[in-house]
Symmetry: C2
Subunit: 232 residues, 2 copies
Amino acid sequence: MRAPSHGSPAVILFSGGLDSTTCLAQARADGHRCHALSFDYGQRHTAELTAARHIAASAGVAEHKCVRIDFDGMGGSALTDARIDVPEAPSEGIPSTYVPARNTLFLSVALGWAEILEADAIYIGVNAVDYSGYPDCRPEFIAAFEKLARLATKAGAEDGHRFAIRTPLIDLSKADIIRKGTALGVDYSQTVSCYQADDRGRACGVCDACRLRRKGFEDAAIADPTRYWTGD
Amino acid sequence: MRAPSHGSPAVILFSGGLDSTTCLAQARADGHRCHALSFDYGQRHTAELTAARHIAASAGVAEHKCVRIDFDGMGGSALTDARIDVPEAPSEGIPSTYVPARNTLFLSVALGWAEILEADAIYIGVNAVDYSGYPDCRPEFIAAFEKLARLATKAGAEDGHRFAIRTPLIDLSKADIIRKGTALGVDYSQTVSCYQADDRGRACGVCDACRLRRKGFEDAAIADPTRYWTGD
């Protein structure tokens, strides 16, 4: 991996969750000027976006944009379609919280912004270890997108510019991610991972995301600062 | 190219312009049930979207969705940033109407919808002959996206499903596109190509898109039905 030049811009896909907040901390530690990118696409957990705004502000990012996408009723995922229940127990295969082609879409917008900013790196907090079975979290997907990025852009076509897709969490367990972020000074009490957090950002404790997160703190032997509905 | 099964769903990227309207006609001729997909992303020529709605309705598509994207002020193109002028004379290299990573983004949304619909084809009216120099209109870009689509999706990961990206116009001159569409019964008077059409859909006659279109009708020796501001 090339070392980033100090202060060079990078786009960080940033949801306000545990993984992307760790990813942002890593991009800062790598010396980048950080441009955080969030999406509001009708996902159920808008508390995550509120958390994203607070964390981005306190992390001193250069800029934080929230791109709003209205899918005109396409549906297709428990996260965007209120008629589909969020699963509260482990399931076989790819779960109903999968949003079709979501990382492809997020990376596409990040790529457009990276081209405008003349950034050479895009950070995404995908993880292929403790992940929920999403196809677009795999290393082969990331490699294919990196190749596409060179072909898709003016900077790539005219100047041979390469956009590096950085995945600092891809090989880490949830416990390792938490250890890494803690070492980088992340305050995880601010982050929201739950698929059905309430409007105060408190977690349900039972969805896939909550279960993975809770186990991560246990395995890391670090006190879990998550606020749960049931914790009152 | 595999023949599509009759009545199988296809997603058609559809702006209401000359190329995408021809592409839609081709998808219908190929026997697909057509799901037309437009975008409202703050582009200057909203007359194109009005045209898209009318054409989709009269072409008998199964469904027409318009996905709205608010880029939160990212800018970067003459088409989305009012501070950048639309060029009215040919320019060297990639012109200022280039929208960073636009086709990657459009194809990503189309891919998500195709997965929900269980469609096996996505049509896009890119053209590498009379094109305006955009990198994401080249065959190598399309091939890279097709590869990505298999890796990015649940259908690709679990079942080896392949999403074909169909580019029926890619090798055609503008005159050939017009000949093809005319043979397929397209009424080009309804289509809007101009980058700065007025709110009645009338074209400026001088932008890149207008110049290419006008020359196409001349070369095809087909009467140009385009309505120009200056034509009154």
